[in-house]
Symmetry: C2
Subunit: 317 residues, 2 copies
């Protein structure tokens, strides 16, 4: 029997991709010179797409594959997958939750501490030789900071746990108050941002959370405030973010995610009060290995006719 066809939309963690390609007849969409011909060729027998969180997959591609039954997303955030289309066609969807929670939360703290204590600026101050001519300015302290976590899911709660070890106060905002959490809840993000010294965005991307951190919320956070984003570029009004960082109406930012990454707005490059990072939330070797294992386990379950391991939408066999 020939290997089942899998359409791969974009590259994933290289060792995981190698395993996928050893087991399945993998077609690389992003490398195909003629996408239409590729889709025509596999249309009669392609039941499975694998993609990464940044690339996702659009309805236009899925429409060309009448036999498609399942999309496996390498990444917890599947906002780049056209979920309403999958639902309408009853296409299954898996993602890679949990295995990346801790690393993403670690990076949120690295960016928060890096912003407050100015780690990249300090590195430059030493490395350039400037230190011999004078010290660096005093910075903010993490101590006693009021931290609003925007999106108190798995990752948000992992961030909260870490922040508490730094003598901070936690509040949260999101679509609803969560049972079993004693932190103050702010139904309104602007109200939460008024209360907070720091806002950490940890909510899913997609239409429902577009610019959830609005211009008004950024202004409420204010000139002493710090905004950290390890979620998606889409969850903040990025135009306002750039403007307010530039004119000092927002104090600082630590950003792992951006609109249209990696081709981000070059206005970020000159902002000295931002710590920039190239979407590395889950980009550690052990976590990418685990994400690959989970992606392959979902694909294996699919071809075995079983329930997906980490199911977002069920497969209809």
């Amino acid at each position: 029997m020939s290997k089942p066809v899998v359409l791969l939309m974009g590259p994933i963690h290289a060792p995981s991709q190698a395993r996928l390609e050893a087991t399945y007849d993998v077609r690389r969409y992003w490398e195909a010179p003629d996408k239409g011909s590729l889709l025509d060729a596999i249309a009669p027998h392609c039941q499975c797409i694998v993609t990464n969180g940044g690339r996702g997959v659009e309805a236009e591609v899925m429409k060309q594959l009448p036999g498609l039954k399942m999309v496996a997303n390498f990444g917890v955030g599947y906002d780049a997958v056209d979920v309403p289309y999958c639902q309408a066609r009853r296409i299954g969807l898996s993602n890679t939750p949990d295995v990346l929670t801790e690393d993403v939360a670690d990076l949120a703290l690295a960016l928060l501490l890096g912003s407050l204590r100015r780690i990249p600026a300090g590195d430059q101050h030493v490395r350039s030789g400037a230190w011999a001519k004078g010290g660096m300015a005093l910075t903010q302290s993490m101590q006693g900071k009021k931290i609003l976590i925007l999106g108190m899911g798995r990752i948000g709660q992992a961030i909260a746990k870490r922040c508490l070890a730094f003598n901070t106060e936690i509040g949260y905002s999101g679509p609803r108050k969560k049972d079993g959490l004693s932190f103050p809840y702010f139904a309104d993000v602007v109200e939460g941002s008024k209360w907070a010294d720091v806002v950490v965005a940890a909510l899913p991307g997609g239409a429902a959370t577009k610019a959830a951190m609005s211009r008004a919320a950024l202004e409420a956070l204010g000139p002493q405030g710090t905004f950290v984003n390890i979620a998606r570029g889409s969850v903040v009004d990025e135009e306002a973010l750039i403007e307010l960082l530039g004119n000092g109406k927002l104090g600082a930012a630590g950003l792992d995610v951006f609109y249209n990454e990696p081709n981000i707005n070059p206005a970020f490059f000159g902002l000295q009060n931002a710590v920039l990072h190239p979407h590395q939330g889950s980009a550690t070797t052990p976590t990418r290995d685990a994400m690959g294992d989970l992606t392959l386990a979902n694909v294996t379950a699919f071809f075995a006719g079983q329930k997906l391991v980490t199911e977002v939408l069920p497969v209809h066999y």
Copy 2:
């Protein structure tokens, strides 16, 4: 009555220095063109020296002041003060413990996370525009790391508390096993460094801890290991540190302190696997304010003939 004379060896936090100068007849040693004349002029009535942790005060200066009874050190580390000389002459000594513990521990985590997750390198990757041409390499994860804390005093324990929130394992080394701590204790730093993925130095400076993190310990930590130093440059064999970072026999370092700072060894400037920081452990506005308050409280206690607030060595009135 004229204001009491205070000899200030080097500048301290500006608002605290302004308060000191409003209350006392402060003589600025570091600005005096002729140190000998300054000391001669104040010798008959100078009972108190104020200094900062970096500057300290040497026996040669104290010998010129026969009436000296007290040294107030702005900083918790008083290794730059000639303590044996103070003891021999029964000169009192105060420092500023506790108020800076939390900020220094925060910076240790900022440097540890910054090293493991490569925060300054990420910032450069984005800011230079390189991201559009390709992603950054995967990094190490903080998860599950074995962290040896070298010096489990107030600051070491504050670091341990934070590290535990990141799902790490803690061990410690130091002059003696501490009662009430359940973490594994390593009497030998090399043995501890073999066990560890990360060593964080948090022990006092001075002769007793010189190169406590030896070449052998750095080699035991190894090519995947990370060394973080928020203590003093003297506690590590810096020549070995530079060599092993350069040839990859030590994985990475996060360094707030150096030999001969701020005129540090320029070999550090080219090390891409080190996160460098200009001795900013306590350099936040609220903490420097608190350190200044405590320094002034000790000076006030001294001139009132009272026990020092945070006494290292007692005053003999």
